[in-house]
């Protein structure tokens, strides 16, 4: 119990960010027209690729002899990059179609 309270109090700043972000996320997309649901889902998909930062931290700190961390970290960075790059490029491709049409 004490452990848990310590964990909460030492992460208080993070918890505030968490709570506010939850409401922000809801607000930000509240008025999205259904036309944009697919690109929005795809864009959000790319943004959660931010998990790659964690992979980079793990990978960067792995000791030269810790092969498990090195191998898994390497794999994690590749997977995270796929999520980020693939996500943003796919979203851009979808949105390009919308833009092209606007000019006409």
């Amino acid at each position: 119990m004490e452990q848990l309270i310590n964990f909460l109090s030492s992460n208080m700043g993070m918890i505030y960010i968490l709570i506010l972000s939850v409401f922000l996320g809801i607000e930000v997309i509240a008025n999205v027209p259904s036309v944009l649901h697919t690109p929005l889902m795809s864009g959000a998909n790319a943004i959660h690729g931010v998990v790659i930062i964690g992979a980079i931290i793990v990978m960067g700190q792995a000791e030269p002899d810790n092969y498990l961390a090195l191998t898994l970290g390497f794999l994690a960075v590749i997977l995270g990059t796929l999520n980020v790059v693939g996500g943003f490029v796919v979203t851009d491709r979808m949105l390009e179609l919308f833009k092209k049409k606007k000019k006409q």
């Binding site: 944009l36 959000a44 959660h48 998990v51 964690g54 992979a55 960067g60 179609l97």
Partner: protein, 467 residues
């Protein structure tokens, strides 16, 4: 100093994610919004590589930095190739695939953290690590199954008592995770078992879910991965991971709920997964009792359309599969030249993702004002001479209004039966993706036009030209 700069970079990164998402929700600013978020991601990644310092102030070793860049390069090449090559019709499974990659990434981070920074007694920290593993691996295997299903590699399967097994398995997994949190010694064996169990749960979770529920599942798994990323933010005290992850987690959940609402189903119902199993059972109802179907020839269809005042096109997944969006637009242009008013009625869950039809028709240069949302379209069917249903089925099934036994009962539909004439283009008499018989096809005013959507549309175009 470096760490302070990195914090500022993370702040900018978080800001770009918020602005990016905000702009993504408006058609005029969407593309710019995506680029802004991508920019924020790039500086956050570059900043982490060069400016990250651990507690004793050390940066990454140069060997590790090189390895990171190699991995980034491999991921970028594969990601760009995959994203550029994929057809617009295969977009949903691609999103699902990329989502799975993010989930796997989060799960791997947790495994390494567990092995590397095992902290007995630090329940909050250990719980966060294990929750990241749990959610990340469920998201990974679930997304892979969703990918396989949308790609047509995997069929719906339900084992008896699936929902009970799922709930039990989930309870066991959470129990194991909680036990691991309280252990004094690290156990890689138990961690491995937990991971395997989570992967299995992800498979069980998506396996029985079929038909109309697939978009909901992808959206849900998307928000799962967001939460997994946010847990990573907790592990590393990393604000950009936290904001990015939670934004997607909450926005994804809202999107999921919006989709459930469009289908008049509760999220719990989707999660427990009773739809896929129940649908096949009810499919058999009243096949013979519905009467006979009537076909129409391409020539007759062309005449009917050419002499209509107002035509409404209802596109569905069949249009996407046949890549018929361009042919469809051509037909629309031809009819407009003849003075026919042509509009598209878009059901919110037509296709395999919300907005899927809009993306496809945008690709074929169909102008925005021609795309009508469901409520507006339903007000206009009364005054419509002819409706062409192209490869759509469940979204025009009147059983959703009339038959309380139907699994889709209560789902809002496009009420095409109020139009003067209905032409249904279909490949054959197979039931829709949800596996339900459609009595619309047996209505007196309905005529069937069998064949591949694209080929049939092209024939129709030739005939309309000749008229």
């Amino acid at each position: 100093m470096e760490n302070q700069i990195l914090q500022i970079i993370y702040l900018i990164g978080s800001l770009t994610f918020i602005i990016g998402l905000k702009r993504l929700s408006h058609p005029d600013t969407a593309r710019r919004g995506n680029l802004i978020a991508a920019f924020g991601m790039t500086i956050a990644i570059a900043g982490t590589i060069f400016l990250y310092r651990n507690d004793s102030g050390e940066s990454f070793s140069s060997t590790n930095i090189i390895l990171i860049f190699v991995a980034l390069l491999i991921g970028t090449i594969l990601g760009v190739l995959g994203a550029k090559k994929v057809k617009m019709t295969a977009m949903p499974q691609m999103v699902s695939l990329f989502n799975g990659m993010g989930g796997a990434c989060a799960a791997i981070i947790s495994v390494i953290e567990y092995q590397h920074h095992f902290a007995p007694g630090q329940y909050g920290y250990m719980g966060t690590v294990l929750a990241g593993l749990l959610i990340g691996s469920i998201s990974f295997s679930g997304s892979m199954i969703a990918f396989g299903k949308l790609n047509g590699n995997i069929n719906d399967k339900t084992i008896p008592g699936q929902s009970i097994i799922n709930l039990l398995l989930l309870a066991v997994l959470i129990g194991t995770g909680a036990y691991l949190t309280t252990m004094q010694e690290p156990s890689m064996l138990l961690l491995g078992i937990l991971t395997a169990g989570c992967l299995l749960y992800g498979i069980f979770f998506v396996m029985p879910i079929g038909g109309a529920d697939m978009p909901v599942v992808i959206s849900l798994l998307n928000s799962f991965t967001g939460v997994a990323a946010a847990l990573g933010g907790f592990i590393y005290h990393n604000q950009v991971m936290l904001t990015g992850g939670i934004l997607v987690g909450s926005a994804g959940t809202i999107l999921t709920i919006l989709m459930c609402k469009a289908m008049n189903r509760s999220l719990l119902n989707v999660i427990i997964g009773s739809f896929g199993g129940g649908a096949s059972g009810t499919a058999a109802i009243g096949n013979s009792a519905m009467g006979t179907i009537k076909e129409i020839s391409v020539t007759d269809a062309a005449v009917l359309l050419s002499y209509s005042k107002k035509v409404m096109i209802v596109p569905g997944y069949g249009l996407a599969v046949a890549q018929a969006q361009h042919a469809c637009h051509e037909l629309e242009n031809l009819l407009e030249e003849k003075g026919v008013e042509v509009k598209y009625a878009i059901h919110p869950v037509a296709g395999r993702m919300p907005g899927h039809m809009n993306v496809l028709l945008a690709e074929a240069d169909v102008p925005y004002p021609k795309l009508m949302e469901m409520e507006d379209a339903n007000n206009e069917f009364n005054s419509t001479d002819a409706v062409i249903v192209i490869g759509a089925n469940d979204v025009v099934n009147p059983a959703a209004k009339k038959n309380p036994q139907s699994p889709i009962y209560g789902m809002p539909i496009l009420e095409v039966e109020y139009a003067q004439n209905v032409i249904v283009m279909k490949r054959g008499m197979a039931a829709g993706y949800a596996g339900i018989e459609n009595e619309l096809f047996y209505e007196p005013k309905t005529r069937m036009l069998f064949g591949d959507a694209k080929a049939t549309l092209q024939k129709l175009i030739t005939e309309v030209k000749a008229n």
